[in-house]
């Protein structure tokens, strides 16, 4: 390696998960639950828990803790808890129910998860996720989630994301919505019962750590601008992923890293920030004005064929390009899996052909997904029955009819595997700060299986967090800490002065223009493919842009009103800091694994080449102070139940 890494970070002590009991893997969770301390029902009312987020993770946790009798304060930035980003998940949720009798089991789901994550996840966590998956479906059905059913009245399943068993439960293309509404309704019931205090249109802007524990948050009322301090016995972050650092992603407009980043700055380690998942089938960017990308279900790859012209600069209408002059590059390079290679492989291949100048559509950033042969083979009727609504959605957005013209697709950022480091109890490095759902570094290693994020969110919220937080709260009461505690006052003051600073710049560029530029940098150098050279460059570019941001951003209006520009500015400011850490993480991880593809490390046929000898660990980053270097703590990953193998899709 040519760059001196010590310019970018410093090494710290190793870190380990000390909370998973040392018993055989399949007994770990039962043992942990048994060992956990309980809180007397009469005492629960006296314990306050703050939960940030109302997605599958936060919503299910708030409802469950409310039912248990804790006093819960729940926050979200939308106008209703029902609108959390989880609502947008389409495909489905995995569970090892083995309803198809096709050889599925907890063990197999566990195995698929670890393998899919390219051996960069913790065995104990992945096992627990697989084990709990079964209960999730039962719970959701009891709540009235309308999963797809067979004619006999039993639940239907499909296979998803390149696995060989049918274990995905779904509700048409709106699984996330239905699961979230289930959690939301349970949550609303607790709100009515007075157990949960709901604060919508409130954004968390700071964490309060006092006497060594997470004891509260500072939030901004997004309607009045009031800065409020809320105190509690424990704080839970279920604030989702940070894919919006790329500006364009499939995430909702408001998704942000602020909650977790602020906690990071207060001492919580941020793990594996460079692991970001790219989804291969999104609708390509059509112009500079574009605000977000739309995912098209991956199922399209089952029947559509992906190609680009053999020659770059071929501007003929796709129908006029003869077959001999088309390159069906996935079928060519991966004869066994063809168009069905995993997400990261398909995404990278698309980027490569576009980099070669063979991309199609405006800007040359797109490849064809062609249904002509499917229509020929199955008939238009059958294609319509299978994909009709997706075709409609595509036509609505692009104005092109995919029955006539091949669709254009391009990869887009979709999910972030990195997040705050947590132990087996989901507790971060700050005592009393728990992190659930996409916000933690999770159970997915370097890549996540399709339909497993919903599973993780609900597993954390319904089943894992409640006993683990009780275990923590069993030690309460903690020291008296009120809103007038110096740490609380300082946190609120920090929020106010940051807002004042943003408003005071009064420069000449809009927040979005900075965000778009930041996104370009991260996408270009820390996206599908990373190189040492590119990452070094990216870090410099990000620093420059960040400096310019604080010098030249223009935030109109005042704090004391609904001010969407101010909200965005705060989020983008945090994205700058995160982006730098992502690049440093990607730079330091001198191997390819899962979604992290370092061009220097690939097999002869362009596959990710892991370096298990040196990198079989979780990179947990400690905040190095304002202007300081981040500190790297390594958590070694030990595989006792699974053998590490090289992936191959040839």
């Amino acid at each position: 390696m040519s760059v001196n890494l010590s310019n970018y970070y410093v090494d710290g002590d190793p870190i380990a998960d000390s909370s998973a009991p040392d018993v055989p893997l399949h007994e770990t969770w039962d043992q942990r639950r048994f060992d956990a301390n309980l809180v007397n029902p009469a005492n629960r009312r006296k314990r306050t828990v703050i939960i940030i987020g109302t997605g599958l993770a936060g919503g299910s946790a708030a409802a469950t803790l409310g039912e248990a009798g804790y006093h819960v304060k729940n926050f979200c930035y939308q106008d209703s808890p029902r609108r959390a980003h989880s609502i947008a998940a389409q495909g489905g949720i995995n569970a090892a129910k083995n309803y198809r009798n096709d050889g599925d089991s907890i063990q197999r789901l566990f195995y698929d998860t670890v393998k899919g994550g390219d051996y960069r996840s913790r065995e104990s966590n992945s096992w627990r996720l697989a084990q709990i998956s079964v209960e999730i479906i039962d719970q959701c059905v009891a709540q009235g989630v309308p999963f797809a059913r067979e004619y006999g009245g039993l639940l239907d399943n499909r296979s998803f994301g390149g696995v060989q068993v049918s274990r995905t439960f779904y509700a048409r293309g709106q699984t996330g919505q239905q699961l979230l509404l289930g959690a939301y309704q349970a949550l609303e019931r607790q709100i009515a019962a007075g157990n949960v205090e709901m604060h919508t249109r409130h954004e968390m802007l700071e964490l309060i750590v006092a006497e060594g524990r997470a004891r509260g948050v500072v939030v901004r009322d997004m309607v009045t601008g009031e800065i409020e301090t809320h105190m509690a016995d424990a704080v839970v972050l279920g604030s989702g992923g940070y894919g919006n650092v790329y500006f364009l992603s499939t995430n909702a407009m408001g998704c942000n890293v602020t909650a977790t980043w602020r906690a990071h700055r207060k001492g919580a380690y941020f793990a594996n920030p460079c692991y970001t998942q790219i989804h291969p089938t999104c609708i390509p960017v059509s112009g500079d004005f574009q605000s977000k990308l739309t995912l098209m279900s991956e199922s399209l790859r089952n029947d559509g064929r992906i190609w680009v012209p053999k020659e770059g600069g071929d501007t003929r209408h796709p129908r006029d390009i003869p077959t001999a002059e088309r390159d069906y590059y996935l079928e060519r390079r991966y004869p066994a899996f063809g168009n069905l290679v995993p997400r990261d492989v398909a995404s990278r291949a698309a980027k490569q052909v576009c980099d070669e100048g063979r991309g199609v559509g405006p800007g040359g950033r797109g490849v064809y997904l062609d249904f002509a042969s499917a229509i020929e083979r199955m008939g238009r009727k059958a294609v319509e029955a299978k994909y009709g609504n997706l075709f409609e959605m595509y036509e609505q957005i692009t104005g092109e009819d995919p029955y006539e013209v091949p669709m254009r697709i391009y990869p887009a950022v979709h999910y972030t595997m990195g997040g705050l480091w947590v132990d087996y109890d989901l507790q971060s490095t700050i005592p009393g700060l728990f992190v659930i759902g996409e916000a933690n570094f999770s159970d997915h290693g370097a890549n996540r299986l399709g339909a497993s994020a919903l599973m993780q969110g609900l597993s954390d919220g319904y089943f894992v967090l409640p006993p683990m937080i009780s275990n923590y709260l069993a030690d309460a009461p903690f020291e008296e800490v009120g809103p007038d505690h110096p740490e609380a006052v300082a946190a609120a003051e920090a929020v106010r002065s940051r807002i004042e600073k943003l408003l005071a710049v009064n420069g000449s560029r809009t927040v979005d223009s900075f965000h778009r530029d930041l996104g370009h940098i991260v996408w270009e150098y820390c996206g599908m493919e990373r190189t040492e050279e590119g990452l070094v460059k990216a870090i410099d570019l990000i620093r420059e842009l960040r400096e310019e941001f604080w010098r030249d951003v223009k935030v109109t209006g005042t704090n004391e009103e609904l001010n969407q520009t101010l909200e965005k500015a705060g989020r983008v400011a945090d994205f700058f800091e995160l982006a730098e850490l992502m690049c440093i993480d990607a730079l330091h991880r001198d191997e390819s694994c899962g979604a992290h593809f370092r061009a220097e490390h690939q097999t002869e046929d362009g596959e990710a080449l892991r370096d298990d000898e040196n990198f079989a660990y979780v990179a947990a980053w400690e905040f190095g102070g304002e202007g300081g270097k981040p500190v790297l703590h390594k958590e070694d990953l030990v595989y006792q139940n699974i053998q590490m193998k090289q992936r191959s899709y040839k």
Partner: protein, 248 residues
């Protein structure tokens, strides 16, 4: 293309509001309606003016956050689309487009085009759930559900809680929203035990929030981005009658 916008501007809920006119040049027909507003907002910001506040999040028609009355129609022209799914190719060069917030007494305007829809959450709180505390639920396949019912329940469950039905209803009624939830839960075996109390409690909350009554006009259905049908309102009325008849 070039567009003239007439937009409702209102600094906060107490201040009076009025329509303002803006010109937007070089609009691409591939833009979504909200992206067109983004572009206008960028311009307003550079000019030091207050950008137009409007709600949106997923921008793919599922979260229910967005919602504008465009040319007098909730979610604008087009069938089964939310505002965020509306594209500028639905308009022509030189068009004058009116943009207003949802209007109904319970939907207070917070700023410009942003309204308060918390009343919907309170209607759900009143009974829009199945009581199933987290714990060991019965094995999922122990409750078979006839496929037709499951599909119908799903159709009803697709409501995104956007409020377009209220914005479109001449009576300012939230009946379609409420009926969708009553049908979703009432069609499933799991929802039977609370079926009667659910509908009565929800209807009472709906009225207490200040929504109007349904007189079967059907504008709601026409505006609903998810195609929720008004036979669900009739179904809810049946449930109310049956609940009254079975009252103990």
């Amino acid at each position: 293309m070039n567009i003239t916008l007439r937009v409702w501007r209102q600094p906060d809920s107490d201040a009076p509001g009025k329509m303002h006119t803006y010109q937007v040049a070089d609009v691409s027909e591939d833009m979504s309606f909200l992206e067109m507003l983004d572009v206008l907002n960028e311009q307003l910001t550079i000019d030091g003016e207050d950008p137009i506040a409007f709600d949106s999040d997923c921008r793919e028609g599922i979260c229910g956050m967005c919602g504008l009355v465009i040319n007098g129609l909730a979610h604008g022209p087009g069938k089964n689309v939310t505002t965020c799914q509306l594209h500028m190719r639905s308009f022509a060069d030189g068009d004058v487009i009116d943009v207003e917030p949802w209007r109904a007494e319970p939907f207070t305007v917070i700023k410009d085009l942003v309204v308060d829809r918390s009343s919907f959450d309170r209607i759900i709180q009143a009974g829009g759930y199945i009581t199933a505390p987290t714990g060991t639920a019965p094995e999922a396949n122990s409750i078979p559900v006839n496929k037709a019912d499951a599909d119908a329940a799903f159709d009803a469950a697709t409501c995104i809680g956007c409020g377009a039905c209220v914005a479109a209803c001449p009576n300012g009624s939230a009946s379609l929203f409420m009926a969708a939830k009553v049908a979703h839960l009432g069609l499933l075996p799991q929802g039977q035990p609370e079926r009667h109390s659910r509908v009565l409690d929800m209807v009472d909350q709906h009225d207490a929030e200040g929504f109007g009554g349904c007189t079967q006009i059907g504008e709601c259905t026409a505006a609903c981005p998810k195609g929720i049908q008004i036979d669900l309102i009739s179904r809810m009325d049946r449930d109310v009658l049956s609940a009254i008849a079975h009252r103990k």
